[in-house]
C-alpha cells in the first residue's frame, strides 16, 4: 500500500477499501522498521496521528470528507506544530515545543490530513546534504552510503522509502528540488508569496518558500491546492486567486516551447546526468513540444549573490535565539554577554555559525554597499534573465543538480557544497517556481529533471511534469535498499 500515490490512496479511502487508521498504522509501522537506518524523522507523533486518523474516518463516515481527508503526511521540522517539538534540526531548539501551528499546518489539519511526524533537515535549512543536522545525517534510501540532499532531506528520504506518501518541505536555494532529485521523488518550489511563511522558521525570509514533496506531480497538485493562498499573517504572501492545480494536469503539451539554458549544461555537469536530462527532453519532443537553447547570462553570479543575501537575512533572523526566552541556554552564565556567547556557541552548529558570521560581516558598516547592495542589484539582473527567457519560451528545463547524490562525508569544503545548488539557487533569487521530477538513474542513484516557469505558473509546471510522468515510469521506481531494512 505504501507504493501507491496519494491519488490512489485517496480513491482507496473513498471506496472504503481502506480506513485512514489502517493506512496510518501501516506507515507508522514502516517508520518504526525502516527509519533506524534512514534517520528521516526527528519526531514521530504516533499517538496524535492515530487520533487524527480516527477523526478522519469518523468525518468520512459522516459524509464530511474532502479529497485529502485521512491521508498521512510528514512535516519538515521547520514548521511550527502546536504542542509538538519543533527543532529546525538544531540543538538550539531541541527543547522547543511550539505554542502554535504554522499556517500551512493549520490548513492541512483543516483538510483532515494525518501528521505522522516531523522530518529531519539540515540545521535551520542551511545545507545541501542533510549532514548539518543536530540529529545526525539522513541516508538516501536508494543507496545508504549516499546523502539524500538537503535541506529537506528527511522529507525526501521518507517519501522515497515509502514511510509517508507525501511530505512538506521548504526551499530557500534548492532545498526541495535537490533532495527530490537525489531521492527520485517529485518536489515543487512554488512562486515566492504563493504559500504562507507564517510559522515556518525563517532562514532567509526573501527566499524561503514551502512546497509539496510526493511521488508524482499529480500528488503535488493536490497538496498545493491546500497550501497555496494569501495569509493575512504573512505580508509577503500574495493576494491572488488559487486555481485548481489538479484540473489542468491533463492539458496536452503540443506546441509547448521549452528552453534549455546553455549555462545549465556546461562545465561541472556529470555527463550521465546530462544524458538522462537530454533523453527526458526528447520525451517532451515526442509529446509535441519544441525545444530551443536559451541563455541566462548572469547565472554564474547566482551563488555569490545568494551567499551574501541569504546569510545577511539569516544573521538577523537567528538573533532571536539568544538564550533569553526559549531554546538552548548555557549553564550558569556569568553575565549577559556570557549568556549570549555560550548559548549561541553551544546551540548552533558549525555551518549555521559560519553563515551568521558571513551575514554579520556583509551587513557591517563599510561593507554593506559592496556586498548587500551589490548582491541585490545582481538579484534584479538574474530575475530579468528569467523574465527575458520567458518572453521566448514557456518553460525552462535542465538538471536539478550537476551530479546524482554524492557519498556521505564526501564534501568537506563548504564552497564545494555550495556549488551543488548551482542550478537551483537562481530560481529563489528570481522568485519563480520550479519542480524536480525523476528522470532516470546514474547507477542506483536517481537523476532529477528541473522544470522552471514564470511567476505563478505552478499549474503549467504541474501539467508539464504530469504529462512526462504519464509517458515515463521513472517516478514509479522504488528503492530496494529501503525494503531490505523493513
Amino acid at each position: 500500500m505504501h507504493d501507491k500515490t496519494l491519488t490512489e490512496l485517496a480513491q482507496a479511502l473513498d471506496s472504503g477499501e481502506l480506513s485512514s487508521r489502517e493506512l496510518t498504522d501501516h506507515y507508522l509501522q514502516r517508520i518504526e522498521q525502516a527509519d533506524a537506518s534512514l534517520n528521516s524523522f526527528i519526531t514521530v507523533t504516533a499517538e496524535q496521528a492515530r487520533a487524527q486518523a480516527d477523526a478522519a474516518d469518523q468525518a468520512r463516515a459522516n459524509g464530511n470528507a474532502g479529497w485529502l481527508t485521512g491521508l498521512p503526511l510528514a512535516l519538515k521540522d521547520i514548521f511550527c506544530t502546536q504542542g509538538v517539538k519543533t527543532s529546525c534540526g538544531s540543538r538550539m531548539l531541541d527543547n522547543f515545543t511550539a505554542p502554535y501551528d504554522a499556517t500551512v499546518v493549520e490548513k492541512f489539519k483543516a483538510a483532515g490530513t494525518v501528521s505522522l511526524g516531523k522530518t529531519n533537515m539540515d540545521e535551520f535549512a542551511m545545507g545541501s546534504s542533510n549532514e548539518n543536522s543536530y540529529y545526525g545525517p539522513v541516508k538516501n534510501p536508494w543507496d545508504l552510503s549516499a546523502v539524500p540532499g538537503g535541506s529537506s532531506g528527511g522529507s525526501a528520504a521518507a517519501v522515497a522509502a515509502g514511510l509517508t506518501p507525501a511530505a512538506l518541505g521548504t526551499d530557500t536555494g534548492g532545498s526541495i528540488r535537490q533532495p527530490a532529485a537525489f531521492c527520485g521523488i517529485t518536489g515543487l518550489k512554488p512562486t515566492y508569496g504563493r504559500v504562507s511563511r507564517y510559522g515556518m522558521i525563517a532562514y532567509a525570509s526573501s527566499l524561503d518558500q514551502a512546497g509539496p514533496m510526493a511521488r508524482s506531480a499529480s500528488d503535488c497538485a493536490h497538496l498545493l491546492n491546500v497550501m497555496a493562498g494569501h495569509d493575512v499573517r504573512d505580508s509577503t504572501s500574495v493576494a491572488r486567486g488559487v486555481p485548481d492545480y489538479a484540473e489542468t494536469l491533463n492539458a496536452p503539451l503540443s506546441g509547448l516551447k521549452i528552453g534549455l539554458p546553455k549555462e545549465y549544461f556546461g562545465d561541472g555537469l556529470d555527463p550521465e546526468v546530462e544524458k538522462a536530462i537530454r533523453e527526458a527532453v526528447s520525451v517532451y519532443e515526442s509529446l509535441g513540444a519544441t525545444v530551443r537553447d536559451v541563455s541566462l547570462p548572469h547565472t554564474h553570479y547566482a551563488i555569490p549573490a545568494y551567499y551574501v543575501i541569504a546569510p545577511a537575512e539569516a544573521s538577523s533572523n537567528l538573533s532571536r535565539f539568544d538564550g533569553v526566552r526559549f531554546g538552548h541556554r548555557c549553564e550558569n552564565p556569568s553575565d549577559l554577554i556570557d549568556l549570549y556567547k555560550r548559548s549561541r556557541a553551544e546551540g548552533f552548529g558549525e555551518e549555521v555559525q559560519r553563515r551568521i558570521l558571513i551575514g554579520t560581516h556583509t551587513l557591517s558598516e563599510g561593507f554593506f554597499d559592496a556586498y548587500y547592495t551589490k548582491a541585490q542589484k545582481v538579484r534584479r539582473l538574474i530575475r530579468q534573465d528569467f523574465l527575458d527567457a520567458f518572453e521566448d519560451v514557456d518553460v525552462l528545463m535542465g538538471p536539478a543538480s550537476p551530479t546524482p547524490a554524492f557519498d556521505l562525508g564526501a564534501k568537506k569544503d563548504p564552497v564545494s557544497m555550495y556549488l551543488q545548488d548551482i542550478y537551483t539557487i537562481a530560481v529563489n533569487l528570481a522568485g519563480i517556481p520550479g519542480i524536480s521530477v525523476p528522470a532516470g538513474f546514474v547507477g542506483r542513484r536517481p537523476v532529477g529533471l528541473q522544470i522552471l516557469g514564470t511567476h505563478f505558473a505552478e499549474a503549467q509546471l504541474l501539467n508539464v511534469a504530469h504529462q512526462f510522468q504519464q509517458a515515463t515510469d521513472w517516478h514509479l521506481q522504488r528503492p530496494a535498499t529501503a525494503e531490505e531494512s523493513v
Binding site: F96, A102, D234, S235, T236, S316, R320, D322, V324
Partner: protein, 484 residues
C-alpha cells in the same frame, strides 16, 4: 568669547493605536507584566509582522500637519543589536526611506515672536520592552508589554539656539500630536521622550561643534535643565583647552547634570538592512487627500484665528490654543456666554488658577465648559456681580450645585438692582452712621471720593453682597451730596 548653542531634537512619540505596530496585542498602559505580549511580540520562531494601518495613518497625519513631503514609498529596516528586552534581536524601524520627509514647525517664544524649526524627517518604529533591575535579586526581569508599541520618531534639523527654543519646540510637537489625537502626549508614562543633540560654536562660525547626545529626557523642564547643564559643560571644557567628544550622555534629574554613557567608539554597528518580512509602504494621492480632509484645525491655525477673528492678544491666543483640550474648553465657554474677553479671562484666571492649585488637567476640570459659560453669562447680564461670581465658581468646583443658576438661587446671590430696595438700604446706613456722615460733610471735597468707600461697604454688607456695586456707588454719592 561669545558662544552659540546649536540644538537638534529627536522626539519619540508613542502613537495612540489600539494594537501594536506589527501585532494585534493591546497597547494599554499598566497591565500585568507580559500579559500584553503575543507570539509576534515575543519574537517566537516562525512569526511574522503585519503593519498596523492606523499607525501609518497617524504618521502621515503628523507629516501633513507639519507640511512635510510624504514620499510615495517608505520602507522598514531592521536595526540589529542584542538586548534582553529586544525579543527578535533587532528593532524594526525606518532608516533609509522614512514615511515622513522634510517639514516645518512654528514655535512661539516668550516674547511672542515666532520661529520656524525644520523637521528633517519622521519615521515609524517599534518600541522595545522594559528591563526591570529591582526586585529580582541580582537578575533582571523582562516585561515585554511595551515591545512592539508604535513610535513616531520626529527628527529636527539643528535649528534651535537655546534651551528655551528647544522647550518651545517640544511643546509645539506635543501640541500638534495631541491636537491630531495621534498620541496622549503623557510624558510621565513615557508617551513622549526625547534625545537632545547639543553642541556649541563660537558666534559667527558656520561649522558645527562636536555634539553630545543626551538620551531619554522626558519632561519639558528636564529638556531645559539638561541643555543648560550641557552647554555650560561644553563651553567650560573648550575654554579650559579641552575638546568635546562625540558621545551619548544621560541626564540625571536628581542632580540636574548629564553623565557620559558611551562614546562613539563604543557605539553599536546596527547593520541596518531592509526588513524582508514587510513590503514597502506605498501611499497614493487619494489616501493622502483623504487624511488631509480629516485633519482638525491645528494649533498654529487656531492661534491665528483667535487673534484675527476673535481679537485676542497674541499672548492670550497662544495660551488658549496651547492644547486641544484648552482650546476646545475656551471655545465652548465663548460659545455659551457670547463674550470673548470674559471667556478668555475666566479660563486663564479663575479656572487655570484652580486647576494649577490641584494639579489637574483641563480635561479633568470639575467645572465643565458649559457650566463656566453659563456662569459668565450671569455676570454679563448683571444677574450677579463679580464677587458673587467667584463664590458661584467655588461652589461649582466643589460640586455644590449642577449649574450657576441653581447655586445663585440656593445661595440667594442674585444681584439686587431694584433702585428702591437699594435706596432703602442706603437710607438705613446713613441713618446708622451719623459720625461718618458728619466727617464726610466736613471733609475737603477731593477727599470725599475716598470716604464714600466706607458707606459702600456697609450697604454691600447689608445686602449680603448682592447689591449692584455700581448702582450703590451712584446712589450713595447722590444721597450724601444732598446732605451737604
Amino acid at each position: 568669547m561669545q558662544w552659540e548653542t546649536v540644538i537638534g531634537l529627536e522626539v519619540h512619540v508613542q502613537l495612540a493605536t489600539h494594537s501594536k505596530i506589527f501585532s494585534g496585542a493591546s497597547t494599554a498602559f499598566g497591565a500585568e507584566p507580559n500579559s500584553q505580549a503575543c507570539a509576534v511580540d515575543l519574537g517566537l520562531p516562525g512569526v511574522l509582522p503585519v503593519l498596523n494601518e492606523q499607525a501609518v495613518a497617524m504618521a502621515v497625519q503628523f507629516g501633513l500637519a507639519v507640511h512635510a513631503d510624504i514620499p510615495e514609498v517608505s520602507v522598514f529596516d531592521r536595526k540589529n543589536y542584542f538586548y534582553p528586552d529586544l525579543p527578535k534581536g533587532y528593532q524594526t524601524s525606518q532608516m533609509y526611506h522614512p514615511i515622513v520627509g522634510p517639514g516645518e514647525v512654528e514655535i512661539t517664544l516668550d516674547d511672542d515672536t515666532t520661529k520656524q524649526i525644520r523637521i528633517h524627517h519622521a519615521h515609524l518604529e517599534e518600541d522595545a520592552g522594559k528591563s526591570l533591575h529591582e526586585d529580582f535579586h541580582g537578575m533582571t526581569g523582562i516585561d515585554l508589554n511595551r515591545a512592539g508599541t508604535p513610535l513616531l520618531e520626529i527628527v529636527s534639523e539643528p535649528d534651535m539656539r537655546s534651551a528655551k527654543e528647544a522647550a518651545a519646540y517640544l511643546k509645539a510637537i506635543h501640541s500638534i500630536v495631541t491636537y491630531l489625537g495621534i498620541s496622549d502626549g503623557n510624558m510621565a508614562e513615557g508617551s513622549m521622550r526625547c534625545d537632545v543633540n547639543v553642541s556649541v560654536r563660537p558666534k559667527g562660525q558656520e561649522a558645527f561643534g562636536t555634539r553630545a547626545e543626551i538620551k531619554n529626557v522626558n519632561s519639558f523642564r528636564f529638556v531645559e535643565k539638561a541643555i543648560a547643564f550641557e552647554v555650560e559643560r561644553q563651553i567650560e571644557l573648550i575654554e579650559d583647552g579641552g575638546k568635546v567628544i562625540q558621545e551619548t550622555r544621560l541626564f540625571d534629574p536628581e542632580r540636574d547634570e548629564t553623565r557620559s554613557m558611551r562614546t562613539k567608539e563604543e557605539a553599536n554597528d546596527y547593520r541596518y538592512f531592509p526588513c524582508p518580512d514587510l513590503l514597502p509602504v506605498v501611499l497614493d494621492q487619494a489616501y493622502l487627500d483623504h487624511l488631509r480632509s480629516q485633519l482638525p484645525e491645528l494649533p498654529a491655525e487656531k492661534r491665528e484665528r483667535f487673534q484675527q477673528a476673535l481679537g485676542l492678544s497674541a499672548y492670550d491666543a497662544s495660551v488658549l490654543s496651547a492644547s486641544r483640550d484648552m482650546a476646545e474648553y475656551f471655545e465652548e465657554v465663548h460659545h455659551v456666554c457670547g463674550d470673548v474677553k470674559q471667556a478668555a479671562n475666566w479660563v486663564q484666571g479663575e479656572l487655570s488658577g484652580a486647576l494649577n492649585r490641584e494639579s489637574l488637567s483641563i480635561a479633568d476640570s470639575p467645572v465643565s465648559a458649559v457650566q463656566l459659560g453659563e456662569l459668565v453669562q450671569r455676570v454679563l447680564d448683571d444677574t450677579i456681580n463679580g464677587k458673587a461670581a467667584k463664590q458661584v465658581f467655588q461652589a461649582l468646583w466643589h460640586g455644590e450645585g449642577a449649574s450657576a443658576d441653581a447655586i445663585i438661587e440656593a445661595k440667594g446671590l442674585k444681584q439686587v438692582t431694584d433702585t428702591g430696595a437699594i435706596e432703602t438700604m442706603i437710607d438705613q446706613v446713613i441713618a446708622d452712621s451719623p459720625a461718618q456722615v458728619a466727617q464726610y460733610r466736613d471733609a475737603e471735597p477731593e477727599k470725599r471720593g475716598k470716604m464714600i468707600g466706607y458707606f459702600v461697604g456697609q450697604v454691600m454688607k447689608a445686602s449680603r453682597g448682592t447689591a449692584n456695586p455700581q448702582q450703590v456707588n451712584g446712589l450713595l454719592k447722590d444721597k450724601l451730596d444732598a446732605l451737604l
